[in-house]
Amino acid sequence: MLLIVVVLTFLLLESASGDAVDAYLLSIGGGDATVAQSLRQAYGLDQSMLARLWLYFSSLATFDLGWSVAFGRPVLDLILERLPNTLLLMGSATALSFGLGSALGIVAGARPESLRDRVLSTASLILYAIPSFWLGLVLSIVFAVQLRWLPTSGIETIASGKAGFARALDIAKHLVLPVSALALIYMALFLRVMRSGMAEAWTLDFVLFARSKGLSRSRIVLRHVARNALLPLVTMLGLQSAAMLGGSVVIESIFAIPGFGRLAQEAVSGRDAPLLMGIIVVSAVLVICVNLIIDIVYAALDPRVGASEPNT
């Protein structure tokens, strides 16, 4: 699977007109053909396509993602340097949206078609329609520009000399707005999935049985209905991880967070094919890892999964 990703991305970037050498020469104000030729030789850009694809694969096997032309550093170093910021952003956004979304989903799904349900469903529909970059801008207008409660950009105060807990607090303060911008939208999605899952579970036989047993309503809601609706939500989490990674590109560029997504944008503007390639490959690996974790969680949540293995 990863193999297909690598080949397709390679072919796509290969079809680009003009390479990094052109972009570099343009940025320094032009150069003569011999300079361009020697630069291409240095970066191996003069070899045939297949030879370079083979070269890429063989270096990939040793975790070497190539050399970034725009930054003049190894691609892997750049990505590893930026990745923690993005993982922090994505992790907190996921936790927040999953927690809040499922909690509100339970509130809405406890009594389908009630007033509370209608208000929450409508609100989540509108929230889900908001583009995350615009939500980010509006949040920063209100909380950073008008109220001056929170900083507008960056991941921490530059050269503040803070360490330990003070530094963590500083980073947390910088992350509030971007995390909310990303999380609120996914919260709406999780709320909707949770709610519809619960509405469906209400019609099932075992819920009817629980009611006829005379169990209290809150017990039915939490133990029977919500527990069943949680499974599709976990599946959704895995499916959305790729979309969230894409969404972080825009959020990071608005809040000037030096993360993975911003790196992608810099790679695009610098016409840095090796860097862009590395970013796509690493993001695919990341999504696969997330889905692997989700599968394991899923097996823990639902005893039916994996029950086909001989375990008696």
């Binding site: 297909i4 991305t9 970037l13 509006v138 207008i141 520009v145 894409g246 590109v249 695919a284 696969i288």
Partner: protein
Amino acid sequence: MRLLRDLVRTPEGAIGFGILAALVLIALLAPALSPGDPLRIAGRALLPPFIDPAFPLGTDRLGRDVLAGIIHGTRTSLAVGLAAALAAIAIGLCLGLTAGFAGGLIDEGLMRVVDAFQIVPSFLLALAFVSVIGASVPVVVMAIALGAWADPARLTRAQVLSIRERDYVASARVIGMHPAEIAFREILPNALPPVLALSAIIVAAAILTEAALSFLGLGDPNVVTWGSMIAEGRNILRSSPSLSIFPGVALVVTVVGVYLFSEGLTKALAGRRLEP
């Protein structure tokens, strides 16, 4: 036509249909509603909104009419969203039908390609695609479609797999229908409804992706889009936030309209399945 009547009968469908119809009208009548190039300089720069009746929503940093931009932006957003979704669904339907119908090695191979497209963040893919080929409306459409076809392909395949075992397909095979005829006349029409319901979501996602791309400066520079208007206003966010807010509201209204329409459509389709 009957589907449309069922659709309008649900409250979501009626509101969604209303919003979309109004937007389509605005898009079609854009040249009449605000004549001339929306990118031309029309008046004093940075006029605040709700002051000058000639520019109800004010002007931007270069003195361009914000209302004209929003009206003409409707065209771009709807056109790109619809075209990208149409392309994605067409590709998805064809490949899903092929994979589900052919089975075996072809199915296996096609599905691995679908997997590959699903694990790469589609926004990153669109970003790479546009940056490689250069920003213009058709390229943006293709870039968005490239990231969106995998879901309908998977859904179509699942539908085909369940439908091809039904009795009427078996009887079609018995009376000697050509496989292609079975695929297109027996299986495709029955596999279509769930894919149709998915398509509204794809349109909404395509509109949002287009806005995000042009927000990052990767849209067609020669047409006005809501995303590029928001990006333009972002530079002077502190002094005149309304420049970014109005196009954003237009985006939200559009996408809400599409979602409501899709909810109505799902309900209408479900109701129709129960009726007969």
